[in-house]
């Protein structure tokens, strides 16, 4: 049995720091694509996305807003990243390069919608500047625009012109900060969608099929896509854990199936993020123990929960 401290935690994602619950980022790390597990309704949501974005030409011609709804830890961001990776691949297949800009931390609660949107727009221009695929003059012109509406409109026109006149064909994909309870903000972004501009938004406060959703701009050939994720189905916890553990090379204590099932029985509203976090921490503890552990049981899980908070 090797020294426990040298064994990598099977719930730590590759290319990522040892954090309990980071979202998968397959558009940044290809290997992350292998880590999606068919649980938590995300598979159905992703299939829905692929069905609605079957035509990459439609994405460039009309742009798109994608909104993912669901509670905290249900995998919204991971789903968005998967959708972006898929879009990136599909666009590339038709000769369109994607500029993916992650602005998920570029807003504060104490900002108004107008301030948040202005800040996001400014940050986008800064990121495009760093990316260096757009001319400085274009970026300067974008900065001079008095409103995000005009900036996004101008950016879209520039991207179309580049596609028509230059060798490059570009689309800009923006990961927006969580909109929380600001349905009005999501509605406004639906108005800002333009050719070659794709927005991805998420919220853990908004519920699907409510009044705000009716206000989304639905006219035209590119209506917004609203996807929903939720808690784990029964037995999904073990499916998820088994998948992660199977990817591990080397000897590692296995997780008892009945332990995971019991956990889900006792806490039926678990989300995938909570399971990922819990198992990451349980294995951190198990792998640190001097006495080798043969298998992880419900006792390990409950001990961890109670020791942490009792």
């Amino acid at each position: 049995m090797p020294d426990g401290s040298s064994v990598r935690n099977p719930f730590q994602l590759p290319k990522m720091p040892p954090e309990p619950c980071p979202p998968l980022r397959p558009w940044e790390w290809d290997i992350h694509l292998e880590y999606y597990v068919a649980v938590d309704k995300t598979e159905a949501a992703f299939a829905d996305f692929e069905r609605q974005t079957r035509s990459p030409e439609s994405l460039t011609a009309h742009g798109r807003l994608v909104v993912v709804l669901g509670g905290e830890g249900c995998g919204k961001t991971s789903l968005i990243n998967r959708c972006i990776a898929s879009t990136q691949k599909n666009l590339k297949a038709v000769g369109v390069a994607s500029i993916i800009v992650d602005l998920t931390v570029e807003a504060k609660n104490n900002q108004s919608i107008a301030e948040r949107m202005r800040h996001v727009c400014d940050s986008l221009i800064d990121q495009l500047d760093v990316d260096q695929r757009l001319d400085k003059e274009i970026l300067e012109e974008l900065r001079r625009k008095e409103s995000p509406e005009k900036a996004y409109s101008y950016l879209s026109m520039v991207l179309k012109r580049i596609a028509a006149t230059d060798d490059a064909d570009l689309a800009v994909i923006v990961l927006l900060p969580p909109s929380d309870d600001l349905a009005e903000e999501v509605v406004k972004y639906s108005d800002l969608v333009r050719p070659r501009l794709l927005f991805f938004a998420e919220s853990s406060y908004l519920a699907a099929n409510r009044g705000w959703q009716a206000k989304l701009t639905r006219s035209g050939p590119a209506p917004p896509i609203v996807l929903t994720v939720g808690i784990l189905d029964p037995r999904d916890g073990y499916v998820f854990a088994r998948e992660r553990l199977s990817r591990h090379h080397g000897k590692i204590p296995m997780l008892r199936e009945d332990a995971m099932n019991e956990l889900q029985d006792k806490k039926p509203d678990l989300a995938i993020g909570q399971v990922q976090r819990l198992l990451f921490e349980v294995y951190e503890g198990v792998l640190q123990q001097e006495q080798p552990v043969e298998e992880v049981t419900m006792t390990h899980i409950t001990d961890h929960i109670l020791q942490a908070w009792h």
Partner: protein, 817 residues
């Protein structure tokens, strides 16, 4: 007498307060309280509320909800009792409750547009200008005082309890986390945020549950109340607390709130009342107790500010809310406020406590208790049972009058080394009546007559005899008919009464049909008051500082009606009506002019203060420059300009004038050294005369006392002038409470030093100031009138209290636009 005249045991410090006005500042102290029936009754209602088991909606014996009213006239101890209730409630609830005292704002004390208090860093963050659309109204101002007393962190903690409860209930629902829930129930200080993040249902569902619980508890029914619940929930989300608190403090909602549906600002009476009700429920929940005392409530519930329509509805709702909220509301005020309320509102007030007059036994107990605060062995002395009875009789048991009389009587007793006798009380009452002199009151009568448009004649002689002189003659009709007004000093003994009797006789002799309105400045014995009514044909008015003008206006109308019906000439009567109408119109114009004049005065005061600030700054700069230049040694600091409102300055001028006799000593000494004075060989040298005067230790002591008095008044005046230049208003244009306390401290310092000075030794000063030393060595008239102790007393006794009141009145008026 059991004590020596020179050093009586009770001579150390005056145990009574000269102002005898209870204030919020004294609430933290432990003033003497005598258990009158009213106090016992109020305590009983409060105790029933405090002892009620958690969850009981209201003690049945308090009646309709937990609302009581304390009702009584000026000086009857409402504020003192309110303070006692606050103290008693605080002792009882400890940390499991909230006890709050606020005094209702005066008519002019309203938040000015643009001066709405806001959370500083919200403004500073530049998230948008805070522009108030607030309309200054009674309950809005009251609410601002209410919210000022609440702590932001306390409100967050109370809402946070719902968050913890929701999380605990969630954790309890799973066998896996039930033990954690149990632990959290026991230890409420654990920060639950981390637990919520890892084991909770997520922030959104938890906050949703908090909001649901708040709605269940607060049962919001109006748009604002729904906004209130949303806002409280938002306080738990990172980044929202400042914005919500700013809104609760009265600012318009910032965009991050309006975007979440909070659109109603707390800037109308109706909304302000709803907000207070919401807080009452929030603070009165579960095992907690919430006691709110609103003092001087007549300022928002009677007269022109009496609530009507929707505001009245909101007030009724507030009273109902207090009952449901398991909170306790005390409304303290003048009887007017209760009378002005409609029956259905009065029914919502469970009990009305009428303030009791002090009995002689109460007064005796009060005196003994007060004196024992300073000396545990103290008894009734220097007071006697007779003087206690007389004080009670003279003051009709009104606590404020009792305390003031006790203060002055005690001073006199210490000074003269004698027990307080009824005669001494009578003398003290004569001297210490009101702030205004009788002459001042005559001036106020003239002012009211002019303002109200009455034609009148001052110092009107009905016949040659001075006894038939009236201070004012008010004309009704044009055949000389009308009525008289006579203002007089306190009427305390038979001599006073007899003098008035003579005057009444002379007036009746000169004009048998007329009636005379007698205005008495100060104390009058009730029996004598009734007799005077018979003598003058009209019940006399006793001057009261706050009510005087309103009362006088009413009396003038009544007198005019009587006088008018007394005339038989209907034509003249008709003419009079027309003239009266014209007079009324003129009166209206006069009032407008007077208001404008008042505003100009206020502006002038404000400008003077600014100028004073500038001068003060220049002085400091000048001093700094002098200090920087080491070659120049500053001779003495330049005197601060004595800028202050003219009415305050007058008080100081009068005070210093009464000591002007001291200046005569300078003159006597200067003349003794005058070159070429031409004194004849027959007259003794001046030095001999002065030495002769100085042989009497009385003169030296007297001069010492007088000089000390003068220096004391001058120092007091300088202190007040500096205070006046230094104070700043709060954002609502009110004098900040810290500055009020500073002023109170200054005035108290004066009064407390003054009472130590032996004024009875002043009489010896005349031996120096009346020395007949004159030019040419001729015997001349005395160079000065002897310093009169009575005059000195009139101007210096209670000067601190008078300055405090006058300054506060002036400061308040100068801030009202």
């Amino acid at each position: 007498m059991s004590t020596s005249n020179n050093d009586p045991a009770w001579a150390s410090t005056n145990p009574f307060v000269p102002t005898a006005v209870a204030s919020a500042g004294e609430f933290d102290a432990d003033p003497v309280t005598i258990r009158t029936p009213a106090i016992r009754e109020a305590f009983r209602y409060l105790d029933i509320y405090l002892r009620a088991a958690p969850g009981e909606s209201g003690p049945s014996s308090v009646g309709a909800g937990n609302v009581i009213a304390l009702v009584g006239d000026y000086g009857t101890g409402k504020t003192h009792l309110a303070g006692e209730l606050r103290r008693r409630a605080r002792r009882s609830v400890g940390t499991d409750g909230h006890v709050m005292y606020i005094d209702a704002p005066a008519a002019g004390d309203v938040p000015a547009v643009g001066e709405t208090p806001a959370v500083g860093d919200v403004r500073a963050a530049g998230t948008g200008p805070v522009v108030s659309g607030a309309v200054g109204t009674s309950f809005v101002s009251l609410y601002r005082r209410f919210i000022d007393k609440l702590q932001e962190s306390d409100v967050v903690r109370r809402v946070g309890r719902h968050y913890s409860d929701a999380l605990i209930d969630y954790l309890d629902s799973s066998e896996l986390t039930a033990a954690i829930a149990e632990r959290l129930r026991v230890d409420r200080d654990i920060d639950v945020r981390d637990i919520a993040e890892q084991l909770g249902p997520g922030e959104a569902p938890l906050l949703g549950e908090v909001e649901r619980r708040l709605r269940e508890e607060l049962t919001p029914s109006t748009e604002f109340e729904n906004n209130f619940v949303t806002a409280l929930t938002l306080m738990l989300r990172p980044g929202f607390q400042d914005a919500v608190w700013s809104w609760l403090a009265g600012s318009p909602p910032l965009p991050i709130l309006t975007e979440r549906g909070i659109t109603t600002a707390i800037d109308t009476d109706e909304v302000a009342l709803e907000a207070m009700g919401m807080f009452a429920v929030l603070y009165g929940r579960r095992n907690h107790r919430f006691v709110l005392v609103i003092d001087e409530v007549e300022k928002v519930l009677s007269g022109p500010r009496r609530p009507e329509g929707a505001v009245l509805g909101a007030f009724k709702k507030l009273l109902t809310v207090f009952a449901k909220a398991r909170a306790f509301l005390v409304l303290a005020g003048l009887p007017d406020f209760l009378q002005s309320l409609e029956e259905d509102v009065r029914q919502r007030i469970g009990r009305v406590v009428h303030m009791s007059a002090l009995s002689a036994d109460n007064v005796r107990d009060f005196i003994i208790d007060s004196q024992r605060r300073l000396s545990p062995d103290a008894d009734l002395e220097p007071f006697t049972p007779e003087s206690v009875n007389y004080i009670t009789q003279l003051t009709e048991g009104v606590p404020r009058k009792v305390i003031r009389l006790c203060y002055h009587a005690y001073r006199r007793a210490v000074e003269e080394g004698e027990l307080v006798t009824p005669a001494m009380v009578r003398e003290v009452a004569r001297t210490h009546t009101n702030i205004l002199s009788t002459e001042d009151i005559r001036a106020r009568v003239r002012m009211v007559l002019g303002r109200e448009g009455w034609e009148h004649s001052t110092n009107h002689m009905l016949e040659a005899s001075p006894l038939a002189r009236l201070d004012e003659w008010v004309y009704i009709g044009d055949r000389g008919s009308g009525y008289g007004i006579l203002v007089t000093d306190p009427v305390l003994d038979d001599d006073d009464f007899e003098q008035l009797n003579q005057r009444a006789l002379a007036i009746r002799t000169a004009a048998p049909e007329i009636r005379t309105l007698l205005i008495i400045n100060g104390y009058v014995e009730p029996d004598i008051l009734a007799l005077l009514g018979e003598l003058f044909g009209v019940q006399p008015m006793v001057y009261h500082p706050r009510l005087f003008e309103d009362d006088l206006v009413g009396m003038l109308k009544a007198m005019a009606s009587w006088a008018h019906h007394g005339t038989e000439d209907q034509t003249i009567g008709a003419m009079h009506e027309r003239v009266e109408r014209i007079n009324r119109q003129q009166s209206s114009i006069y009032r407008s002019i007077q208001q404008i004049a008042a505003q100009i005065d206020a502006m002038q005061l404000s400008s003077e203060r600014r100028l004073g600030h500038l001068q003060s700054d220049l002085t400091r700069i000048s001093q700094a420059l002098s200090a920087a230049s080491s070659t120049v040694v500053p001779e003495r600091a330049p005197e601060l300009p004595q800028r202050m409102p003219p009415e305050v300055l007058r008080l100081f001028s009068r005070a210093l004038d009464s000591l002007a006799d001291i200046g005569q000593v300078d003159r006597v000494l200067r003349e003794a050294f005058a070159v070429g004075s031409g004194r004849s060989s027959h007259t003794p040298p001046a030095s001999l005369e002065i030495r002769a005067a100085l042989r009497s230790q009385k003169a030296v002591k007297s001069l010492g006392v007088a000089v000390l008095l003068q220096k004391l008044v001058e120092a007091f005046q300088t202190g007040i002038a500096e205070w006046y230049l230094s104070y700043t208003d709060d954002p609502q244009g009110r004098l900040r409470s810290a500055h009020q306390e500073e002023l109170q401290e200054l005035c108290y310092t004066y009064d407390s030093i003054y009472e130590y000075l032996p004024l009875h030794q002043l009489t010896g000063l005349s031996e120096l100031t009346t020395l007949p030393i004159g030019a040419g060595g001729q015997q001349t008239e005395a160079v000065g009138m002897p310093l009169r102790r009575v005059d000195v007393r009139k101007t210096l006794d209670g000067l601190g209290a008078r300055v405090q009141r006058t300054m506060l009145a002036a400061a308040t008026s100068s801030t009202v636009e």
